[in-house]
């Protein structure tokens, strides 16, 4: 400790209870902080900085925050990152902090972190009256100075900063300092690097003066209020804070969800001026407009086709590139319901006066060639919820027709659109690979290969189950009567569940001699390979879920684990975590036990194979009998669940048949369901429910569960309004009543009608979510859709929905049966809550990415086709309708009149009916539509639907 000195920092803070607390922090200063340079610490073998580098770079915080895309280019090496900078970045933007850390971990880049705050000679105490920012700048200069002195004559130390004041002071102190732009221009490969440079607001003015795009004079938008005013007024209740969501069917409008406006759950922003430079997902502060300027609830769909070059008003609904169709429709349903359930017929309107937090992330865009002025171009994000972006590029010719990644930098008051910079190119528009990459990027899916460190967590090739592991477990391989088999979709390689059923001998039978069955669900024991806290575990926790696109999947764990080590293949010994019940003839559970087991699957069947076996009366081999017992019990379980009010829901999902060579879609199929699907499903549900009960019993505060809340009051009003016109009504008083009234929604002449109602019912409900048992009262554990009082995910640790959640549940259960203890972190409700938050986001993102991929393939499918198909009206608005095409599972908007044209229809806004002489359009009406790809914008094709039957009148 002799190399350490200590200083004290004293500051005063108010505690949550309102008391004033004096914090005294000791801060140790030392001499042994590694400098990373072999010139200074010749004895240190682990120097990151190179001995032969002509110069070391020291970065200012603003450089890291704005130019992370530049830093990620391999051109910049031998960089000193100061602790002061890292801390500032972490507090400002955790996403950039993570990217920065990844750079530091990359050996080739030679980034060294210098803990200047702990070094005796570089520690900088805050002076009285000095702002934290100024102190940080001073600390950065001081550290730079220290390096310069140490390296005098050996190696140059250059401070990069875009802060004018810091630059001036550094130069005054005799340090070498430069702006990023001028430094980059001096590099040999400057042309390439300048492209990815982000512009600064102060620089933007200069660029404009130099012949850039002519902006409209003066201020286009209202300047934002200062932060201090905002926080004061929000607290006082005169301004309202919330998250901004751009409306899916009309991207010029947005809603802000607020809690502080009585009678309204959201505030509508009517146009781009009201949105005042805020974009999708930002946390904004809004001011309400006076009530006479509020709007009626019923509105038009977003207007079709952009009028002039500068507006972006395409309707997201019609574009199959747009993020997510089902979501789109769902949000609209929800908005409609909320609006309707509110007594007032007017929607609160407001305008943005400040942005608390930007949700800006890199966007996939397409360059508009005609938009160029000088080197400035407009790019249009693929995600229509974002506005067009101004970028500066010298290689516009190369970028036309490509999908490019663009990062947003800032949005000036006088500019119609925000300014950003080019990051990289993904590939050609319409190219399957590039478009898939775009989907993954848009949904923030991690696609990097698994690192060697992660691969090293898996056992070596040729692994077999060690003898001592078998000895610890229950061996089910040769147990008489136990025939374990699996039933999965055809061609499944990652089998994570298997089943068995056997009639127990009379000696073990029930009291009155009635027969008892032993049924087991065997789940691949991932826990044996993924131990908590290892590299592979951390990676899986971040990824949270496997993402399935139409042609590829992005794994949560390395392929070898899912497809080989864990997969319960036929006739191979595998480790399993089993849930075994004794069940009587009426499918009542007599007892339940959980065991770690060793199994050998007798057969890995497809649903079809299993079904054929069960149906073929002539087959009486033990495996088939096993299947029949399972099926018989499953039917009883299902009957009981249905009686309790389980809902049978539906989605319009379809499957593509792909060309084996080109991977282009050649046909579309509906998913087919057989009895054997339902058999597997019933047992998985039973296992999940049993496990959920067990872990909640043992860990009431920190069990990871899944719940599906009952629908919000009034959620079905809109749907019921539509259904009423066809003489049906849904009873939503309970899930049982709902299930029964759903069964009654049948039109004999139209078999699809019932399914359609189910699809729309599904959308009217809330999303199922993971949660931590301690954060919700037990009455709300309910899974509404399954009519189960408690539920979790246990049965799918490697496959479909391959969820990290399942692995956590495995761990909890393993702890309960005394298999191995869990880390305290698994039992810390706060940590579980954090985890759950990430899992929910990842799960939603994975779903959305999957659907976006389906949308992409739909578009590719229709590229060379024009098809006329049946469609159903699912929403009616003043100027158009939303239709769903069951055959292809697509939906889109059909406008009944063009923008600025006279509407030939009259709209009944109580019943939502469009009428014109000789024609009436109501929800659930069947139409025929023509589906084709609209290639009028070659850089952004989209799917276009038009009604061919009945013939629509034109104005």
């Amino acid at each position: 400790m002799e190399h350490m000195a200590a200083v004290s920092r004293v500051f005063v803070k108010r505690t949550r209870r309102g008391q004033v607390k004096t914090h005294v922090r000791q801060h140790y200063l030392r001499d042994d902080v590694p400098s990373g340079s072999p010139h200074i610490d010749p004895a240190d073998a682990e120097c990151r900085l190179s001995a032969s580098a002509p110069r070391y770079l020291v970065l200012d915080t603003n450089v890291v925050l704005h130019q992370i895309d530049l830093l990620e280019r391999p051109a910049l090496c031998d960089v000193i990152l100061l602790q002061t900078v890292l801390d500032e970045v972490r507090h400002n933007k955790s996403s950039i902090y993570k990217r920065l850390r990844a750079l530091v971990d990359d050996d080739r880049r030679r980034f060294h972190v210098f803990c200047n705050e702990f070094h005796r000679e570089t520690y900088t105490a805050r002076e009285t009256g000095e702002s934290p920012n100024d102190r940080n700048d001073r600390a950065i200069r001081r550290a730079t100075q220290w390096y310069s002195r140490q390296l005098e004559g050996v190696c140059e130390v250059l401070l990069l900063t875009d802060d004018a004041e810091n630059l001036r002071l550094a130069r005054e102190a005799g340090l070498r300092a430069e702006r990023v732009r001028s430094f980059v221009s001096s590099l040999p490969n400057a042309g390439d690097l300048i492209e990815v440079l982000a512009l600064h607001e102060e620089e933007a003015g200069e660029a404009e003066a130099g012949g850039g795009r002519k902006q409209n004079e003066g201020q286009r938008y209202t300047p934002h209020l200062p932060m201090s005013t905002i926080s004061r007024e929000v607290e006082a209740g005169s301004l309202h804070q919330g998250k901004l969501r751009v409306r899916s069917h009309n991207t010029r409008q947005a809603t802000v969800s607020v809690r502080s406006v009585p009678g309204h759950s959201e505030v509508l922003l009517r146009d781009r001026e009201a949105m005042n430079r805020a974009t999708e997902g930002d946390i904004v502060v809004v001011r309400l407009l006076s009530e006479d300027r509020w709007k009626d609830t019923n509105e038009r769909l977003g207007d079709p086709a952009a009028d002039d070059d500068l507006t972006t008003s395409e309707t997201a609904g019609a574009s199959m590139f747009a993020a997510d169709q089902e979501m789109v429709a769902q949000q609209d349903w929800e908005q409609e319901q909320q609006a309707k359930s509110q007594k007032t017929s007017k929607r609160a309107c407001g305008e943005v006066v400040g942005i608390v937090k930007r949700a800006w992330r890199p966007l996939v865009c397409v360059l508009e060639r005609d938009s160029g002025t000088g080197n400035q171009y407009l790019v249009e994000p693929v995600d229509m919820k974002f506005p067009k972006i101004n970028i500066t590029t010298r290689q516009a010719d190369l970028l036309v027709g490509k999908l490019i990644v663009v990062a947003l930098d800032f949005w000036e008051v006088s500019h119609r659109f925000p300014t950003g910079h080019y990051v990289r190119t993904l590939g050609n528009v319409g190219d399957q690979e590039a478009e898939s990459d775009s989907i993954l990027l848009t949904h923030d899916v991690r696609t990097a290969e698994f690192s060697a460190q992660i691969q090293a967590c898996l056992p070596a090739k040729g692994w077999t189950i060690p003898e001592d592991e078998i000895a610890r477990r229950t061996d089910l391989r040769n147990k008489p009567g136990v025939i374990v088999c699996s039933v999965d979709p055809p061609g499944c390689v990652d089998i994570d569940d298997a089943l068995h059923a056997r009639l127990l001998p009379v000696s073990e039978g029930g009291k009155d001699g009635s027969p008892l069955y032993e049924c087991g669900v065997h789940i691949a024991d991932v826990g044996h390979f993924i131990k908590q806290g290892t590299a592979i575990d951390r990676e899986a926790a971040t990824r949270g879920s496997t993402v399935y696109l139409t042609t590829k999947r992005i794994d949560m764990v390395p392929k070898r684990l899912g497809e080989d080590l864990c997969s319960l293949h036929e006739q191979v010994d595998r480790l399993a975590f089993s849930c075994i019940w004794v069940i009587d003839e009426d499918a009542n559970i007599v007892s339940t036990r959980f065991e770690k087991t060793v199994i050998r699957s007798a057969a890995a069947m497809s649903y079809e194979e299993a079904q054929v076996r069960m149906d073929d009366k002539s087959m009486t081999d033990p495996l088939t009998l096993n299947l029949r017992s399972l099926n018989a019990i499953a039917k009883k379980l299902k009957a009981r669940r249905t009686a309790a009010g389980a809902l049978s829901l539906a989605s319009p999902e379809v499957r593509f048949v792909l060309d084996s060579e080109s991977r282009d879609p050649t046909d579309v199929q509906m998913y087919q369901l057989r009895e054997s699907n339902s058999m597997v499903e019933e047992f998985m549900l039973l296992a999940n429910i049993s496990v959920a009960k067990e872990i909640t019993r043992a860990f009431p505060q920190c069990a990871l569960l899944r719940r599906h809340p009952s629908p919000a009051p009034g959620a079905f009003d809109a749907l019921n309004g539509y259904l009423g016109q066809h003489g049906f009504q849904l009873d939503v008083s309970s899930s049982l009543a709902l299930a029964q009234s759903l069964d009654e929604c049948i039109k004999p002449e139209d078999p699809y009608f019932n399914r359609l109602v189910r699809i729309l019912t599904t959308r009217s409900m809330q999303q199922a979510r993971y949660f931590c048992s301690g954060s919700v009262v037990p009455e709300e554990y309910l899974h509404y859709g399954l009519a189960a009082p408690i539920y979790t995910h246990f049965t799918s640790p490697i496959r479909r929905r391959a969820q990290y959640a399942d692995q956590v549940v495995h761990r909890l259960l393993a702890a309960i049966i005394g298999w191995e203890p869990v880390n305290p972190e698994t039992l810390d409700p706060a940590a579980v809550n954090d985890l759950v938050e990430n899992l929910n986001t990842r799960h939603t993102m994975a779903q959305h990415a999957g659907r976006a991929s389906v949308a992409l393939f739909t578009l590719l499918f229709f590229k060379e086709r024009e098809v006329t198909e049946d469609a159903y009206v699912i929403q009616v608005r003043e100027n158009g309708i939303v239709v769903l095409v069951p055959r292809y599972g697509i939906e889109g908007i059909v406008y009944v009149c063009a923008r600025n044209e006279k509407n030939p229809f009259t709209f009944d806004n109580k019943l939502n009916i469009l009428t014109a002489p000789g024609i009436t359009i109501r929800a659930f009406d069947k139409l025929r539509v023509l589906i084709r790809v609209d290639s009028s914008k070659p850089h952004r094709p989209k799917l276009q639907l038009s009604v061919v039957e009945p013939k629509l009148p034109t104005a």
Binding site: M1, M4, A6, S8, K13, T15, Q19, V20, K21, T22, H23, V24, R25, Q26, H27, Y28, L29, R30, P34, Q83, R101, V104, V113, C115, E117, F118, G533, P821, N823, P824, E825, L827, A831
Partner: protein
């Protein structure tokens, strides 16, 4: 103001206050800090500040066993010790528990049988708290007893270890303490025995050995500094009485 798990130890290996994982805070000691008492010691463990005073052995005013001295420990915490005003009583549960623990540990170390029919009073005043109060108190009482010239079998040194998100931190401060579980031990460095172990939250049984080893290492570090302080104090005393001319 708990520190989040990921931040307790930066990838560069530094804790929030600039220490490495295996470094204890600065330990500052002064024997004879309160000259009026028979023995006293002032201990600063980082920002945790404790004054221990010993009175006795003196004639027992209470009835009880007469074959050995009775050890009384009393602990007060100043109302502003934690930075926010709080009226601690002598009778609050945490103080009482700590008193009992300190008394038990020292009954095993102090050679009470040498002082029949007497009692030894130990008064501890916690002036500022910033994690590791238990360790600071034990170390202060040891030194105060040494200063009072009470016969002991060995030093009693204490140190704590925090297990936060899988990382072991020696001598955690209050900020680090809130993030994980803390184990503190009292150790007899010369006879290499453990006199007391205290663990207030859960810790995986498998990692107990490792945590104990780190804690013992910490106690040894404490011992070196404490022995140094005792030697200096002894030299001072000898010097002041003209018996030492170095």
């Amino acid at each position: 103001m708990a520190v989040r798990h990921s931040e307790v130890l930066s990838p560069e290996g530094f804790r929030v206050d600039g220490r490495r994982a295996n470094e204890a805070r600065r330990l500052r000691l002064r024997l004879g800090a309160s000259p009026g008492a028979d023995g006293s010691a002032y201990v600063e463990l980082g920002n945790t500040k404790v004054l221990a005073t010993v009175s006795g052995p003196h004639e027992s005013i209470r009835k009880g066993a007469h074959d050995a001295a009775a050890l009384h420990v009393e602990l007060t915490t100043l109302p502003f010790a934690s930075g926010v005003y709080r009226a601690h009583g002598r009778s609050d549960r945490a103080s009482q528990e700590l008193c009992a623990a300190v008394r038990k540990s020292f009954e095993a170390v102090v050679q009470l049988h040498l002082y029949a029919r007497t009692q030894i009073d130990v008064a501890v005043c916690v002036m500022q708290t910033d994690g590791g109060v238990r360790s600071a108190v034990v170390n202060a009482v040891t030194l105060a007893l040494v200063d009072a010239g009470v016969a002991m079998e060995d030093f009693l040194c204490a140190c704590s270890v925090g297990a936060v998100g899988g990382v072991l931190l020696l001598d955690p401060n209050a900020q680090e303490d809130q993030a994980g579980s803390e184990l503190s031990i009292a150790y007899l460095p010369r006879s290499e025995r453990i006199s007391a172990v205290q663990l207030e939250s859960k810790l995986p049984a498998s990692s107990l050995d490792e945590v104990m080893n780190v804690a013992i290492e910490g106690c040894k570090q404490m011992f070196d500094i404490m022995r140094g302080a005792v030697q200096i104090r002894t030299q001072e005393l000898l010097h002041s009485r003209g018996m030492f001319n170095a």
